[in-house]
Symmetry: C2
Subunit: 188 residues, 2 copies
């Protein structure tokens, strides 16, 4: 169907219900984490218990969405060590990522939540800091009603295979490429 045609026919409807899904937002483009936070906002509006765990961002940098989400009752953990190029002790940075995964795994297995967001988890997975096979196994055997959103570039294939919905955010154009800095209120 062409973009300029007004759709007149009801599209086919999906009929299966599922207790929960796993969503992956990957790709180089903007919106991976932001879409995950948008979904978290939607989930709390429905009365769900939601937990966000950030694997790279450090607690030294409070972002806008954290403030809002916390105010709405989202449990929010920022357990990263910041950008790897700022790390003065990579072993420690790696240990912090493992600790974030330990906490995430506990939250996932607790059956207390309806949505857990694993923000930027693909990076420590790709770097071999968190075993991909273990993450996939924990997600595959998660409590039936728990939805999970994982974000980050270069999502490992095993994670994609497990996921129900995978979106690749592609950069068609980016203000940054014209030298424009990230903007408070828009980018963080």
């Amino acid at each position: 169907m062409k973009a300029d045609e007004v759709p007149l026919q009801t599209p086919p409807r999906a009929s299966r219900k599922t207790a929960s899904i796993v969503i992956v937002n990957t790709g180089e483009g903007k919106g991976k984490s932001t879409a995950a936070f948008g979904t978290a906002l939607r989930a709390v509006a429905r009365g769900w218990k939601v937990c966000v765990i950030q694997f790279v961002k450090s607690n030294r940098w409070k972002v806008g969405e954290q403030e809002t989400a916390t105010r709405l009752g989202v449990e929010w953990w920022t357990i990263g060590d910041g950008f790897t190029w700022d790390s003065r002790d990579m072993k420690r940075t790696e240990a912090i990522a493992r600790e974030a995964w330990r906490i995430a795994r506990e939250r996932i297995q607790s059956a207390d939540y309806r949505l857990v967001v694993l923000d930027e988890i693909t990076y420590p997975m790709s770097w071999g800091w968190i075993p991909t096979a273990e993450v996939v196994a924990v997600l595959a055997s998660r409590p039936a009603a728990l939805n999970v959103i994982a974000t980050g570039r270069d999502a490992p294939q095993a994670l994609i295979d497990l996921a129900d919905t995978v979106t690749e955010m592609r950069n068609l154009k980016h203000a940054f490429d014209r030298g424009i800095r990230a903007m408070r209120g828009i980018d963080y």
Copy 2:
């Protein structure tokens, strides 16, 4: 740089500041509107005045994000007539879209806001209900501090040309394709 290499070098930093940007989220995949709402959440956390205008969704269907955003002080207009295939009077549906644009234009030109989200505006633009040239002209001459996010599939080229940042959401995999229904709390 390969995905499994830990980045050790500080990437080049952008240096230019800009008063505001125009963002377009397009493509067939999930997350276009959700990322826009995530940004709205970020913007209100920074104390910005934010307005969301939905061009397709009708007021008959209250979505979770609307409830949360309104509670946070976002001005939220749902002025669509619903899915076009449910329309019993396409002239009326078209008139409603024009009315949504009239309200959006007023909000944009008022200089009262720091962020205006034009959710699913690309559809009435593609269908010729709202003149693309006018939308682009209004965005190009917007108040200096006003950021705009436009969402929807098949963003018109003139809109892409005007935008600072354009992300294409690509569907790598979708639960819907396996017959799984949209889920309250996740999809709406």
